[in-house]
């Protein structure tokens, strides 16, 4: 039973990490649209996002479904507790889905520009909200004895969570910039190099700030590391990615930056998971009654059946998603001769 619960803790993390890595392309590139004023440039970026944004979003839906199936108490507690925040998130997800699909339905520059702007704003908002949510979950929330959040929406917007929100915008912006670098050429690619550099700088600074904040005010997030020093490897990987990133930008391999930032995002999920384990929602009102993977999970049979389904389905999903990305982008990534000097 325990190993099943831990496996599902990891699997939910894998799905959410998959979401940030892949949807990071369209969220981040959407957010970065403000850097591209020229309609042709925007067109080039959106042209590459259109075939894949939909399947990228499925990672979030499946992650939500897996949370529901594996840890119903967490799903119920977090989703109802974050009611207004989630309504806002839904609004943004709806807006960007509609925007990216219909921006060219009518042949008018005004129509296209408005929907592109909507996509930009909605994508940025999604990044911010995800970051805020994860920040709050990392340090914990006040819960009542039934596992329901007792605070208000405004309390979710505390300094720490807002900082993690901006961190998420920066990291996903980095991911989006990496995607643009790998899939486009010319001025679009050059601008993306510049954005990548700036977003890396911002990410780095915020990462240091967040780490300091946790050291000073949230020492509990380090407890697991002290108990099992071997998991220090995960934050070490994260920091290495962060430090190596500028060097990756200088290499003439156009898909290297996005690979590094993907690894960075995955290791960030690893750090989050390692810090929170075994809690899914730490209870700040009474830490003993936190929602953990042990007291919130589904029954053994459900976890087992779901694991079998996941083991059958996920490899297939990985396979055909990889195939589709290859089909759409491999040619471009191989052909593009990068003007790496422009980045420096």
């Amino acid at each position: 039973m325990t190993w099943l619960q831990i496996t599902w803790f990891i699997l939910v993390g894998v799905l959410l990490a998959g979401y940030t890595v892949l949807s990071g392309f369209d969220l981040g590139a959407g957010h970065l649209l403000y850097r591209f004023r020229n309609p042709e440039e925007r067109e080039e970026i959106l042209y590459n996002l259109k075939p894949i944004w939909g399947v990228n979003q499925v990672w979030l839906l499946t992650g939500g479904g897996a949370l529901f199936a594996a840890f119903p108490r967490v799903y119920a507690g977090v989703f109802s507790g974050f009611y207004l925040a989630l309504m806002l998130l839904l609004l943004a997800l709806i807006l960007r889905s509609v925007a990216i699909e219909i921006d060219h339905e009518i042949d008018s520059p005004g129509w296209t520009r408005s929907w592109e702007k909507a996509f930009l704003i909605a994508s940025s908002l999604v990044c911010l909200l995800l970051g805020v949510a994860m920040g709050n979950l990392l340090v914990g929330l006040p819960l009542d004895e039934n596992g329901y959040y007792t605070g208000t929406f405004l309390e979710l917007l505390n300094v720490f969570a807002l900082l993690t929100g901006i961190f998420a915008v920066c990291l996903l912006g980095l991911q989006g910039a990496g995607f643009i670098i790998a899939t486009s050429r010319g001025t679009v690619q050059e601008k993306a190099y510049i954005s990548a550099q700036r977003y890396w700088m911002a990410s780095f600074v915020i990462f240091v700030l967040l780490s300091l904040y946790c050291l000073l005010f949230e020492p509990q997030v380090f407890v697991n590391y002290q108990a099992y020093p071997v998991i220090y490897l995960i934050p070490v990987l994260l920091v290495s990615c962060l430090i190596y990133y500028p060097a990756a930008l200088k290499k003439s391999i156009s898909y290297l930056p996005v690979l590094v930032s993907s690894l960075l995002l995955i290791s960030l999920w690893g750090v989050l998971g390692a810090s929170m384990f075994p809690a899914l929602v730490p209870n700040t009102a009474n830490p003993v009654t936190s929602l953990t993977l042990f007291n919130s999970s589904s029954s053994e049979l459900t976890l087992k059946v779901m694991l079998i389904l996941a083991l059958c389905g996920l490899p297939l999903v990985f396979f055909y998603i990889a195939m589709i990305y290859r089909q759409f982008f491999a040619r471009n990534a191989a052909q593009s001769t990068v003007n790496q000097n422009s980045a420096g």
Partner: protein
């Protein structure tokens, strides 16, 4: 939603498939958007429910994601945007895989819904339902009848959509060759699907009669338990007086339909406690129009078949006009059917296990629920308007664009 299933199959002709893919793309967005809301709202608005049934109900949703929705979304991107960007083999495969994904997706969602109607494969432990048999829960008594009925309804909706638009093109003298071929395919699919729907509808009704007798009684407007119950075509139901006025009914037919025996006994609503009655009007007045629409769809497609045999299908303006008018009706029939199914399950959210009133999120203020409800209603209406507008535009544009290039050749 699964209209795609049908539409993606008629890719015998490249031009046709290109044409029909556009409405599919627009429809898909609306589907994705409403799906996202559904996925979240179990947790946000139905937290007590989610805790109570999560052990069982979450699994089909997650399975839908992993086994179906990924497939469908991945390849719809290829189908819509990939014609010139991916290898021809994968492009050809994509329509098939989208259809497969959509059909599987429908299955898992129907599983989740059916479990709420006729729960199976569980036991109640410590105030929640725990899974005891996955197979029993998935193939609970109403899964198969509901699935067949829904998929067939989707095929009818898709074929009437194709019929209506092809008829419009023929009436306007546009793209005649494509319109004729599409009309023919749509018609044949419609005839088969409408005929099959009597079968699946009957099968589904039998299941409701045996597993949810109070819903069945409300659908049929049957208050008094009686032998040789009559089958009602029309009537005015008055739950307060427990009668149906002005009814046109065929005596004994209901009993016969359920058990093949005219004299068999059917339980009426009076034999159930009133606090377990579903809202009778909402169930009765949605079920009957749905059945009547279903009969009309069959008659219309049958008429078309007769015209096809007489070789006057493409020139019969009356038929074409009717086919155009009928285009939105299957959508309405689908909604009516779902309202009948869901209203008929009340007051339960999980039949005879959990009342809807006990399933809500206790920790969300009513004002927030009301505000979000208004917000999503407005969004839904806007999306509906946008969808109709864009579909109409897509069709006109595709026709106009094509006819300027090769319209002459096709006439």
């Amino acid at each position: 939603m699964q209209r795609r299933y049908y539409r993606t199959r008629d890719k015998i002709y490249l031009q046709m498939s290109r044409f029909w893919v556009r409405p599919l793309a627009v429809t898909f967005v609306v589907g994705v958007v409403s799906g996202v809301v559904m996925e979240f709202q179990f947790g946000t608005n139905w937290a007590q429910y989610s805790k109570y049934v999560g052990d069982i109900f979450g699994a089909p949703l997650a399975a839908e994601g992993v086994l179906a929705f990924f497939l469908e979304s991945a390849f719809i991107g290829v189908l819509v945007w990939g014609e010139k960007r991916v290898s021809p083999a994968i492009y050809r495969l994509s329509s098939l895989l989208v259809a497969l994904g959509a059909t599987l997706s429908a299955f898992w969602i129907i599983v989740a819904n059916s479990w709420m109607q006729t729960p199976a494969g569980y036991q109640i432990v410590g105030g929640r339902a725990e899974l005891t048999s996955f197979v029993e829960a998935v193939f609970n008594p109403s899964t198969l009848p509901r699935y067949l009925h829904t998929i067939d309804a989707a095929i009818i909706t898709g074929s009437f959509f194709v019929l209506g638009i092809s008829a419009w093109m023929l009436l306007r003298n546009r793209e005649l060759e494509m319109a004729r071929k599409s009309l023919r395919i749509g018609l044949i699919a419609a005839v088969i699907a409408c005929l099959a729907q009597f079968g699946t509808g009957h099968y589904h009704t039998l299941q409701v009669a045996s597993t949810q007798p109070e819903k069945f009684a409300a659908m049929e407007g049957l208050f008094q338990t009686e032998r040789s119950a009559s089958f009602m075509l029309f009537g005015q139901v008055e739950p307060e007086n427990r009668i149906v006025r002005n009814q046109i009914a065929i005596p004994g037919l209901l009993s016969w339909l359920v058990t093949m025996d005219v004299n068999s006994e059917i339980r009426g609503l009076n034999s159930f406690p009133v606090n377990e009655w579903p809202p009778v009007k909402a169930t009765f007045y949605t079920f009957h129009p749905m059945v009547i629409l279903g009969i009309l769809f069959f008659l219309l497609s049958l008429w078309g078949l007769v015209l096809l045999k007489k070789n006057t299908l493409y020139s019969s303006r009356w038929f074409l006009r009717l086919a155009m008018i009928a285009m939105p009706l299957p959508f309405i029939a689908n909604e009516l059917g779902w309202i009948a199914a869901e209203a008929g399950r009340q007051p339960w959210i999980v039949y005879r296990l959990l009342r809807t009133a006990d399933a809500v999120s206790v920790n969300v203020p009513a004002a927030q629920v009301a505000a979000s409800l208004v917000m999503f209603s407005v969004i839904a209406l806007l999306l509906l308007g946008l969808w109709v507008f864009l579909i109409a535009r897509e069709v006109k544009q595709a026709v106009a664009g094509d006819s300027s290039e090769k319209g002459v050749a096709s006439i």
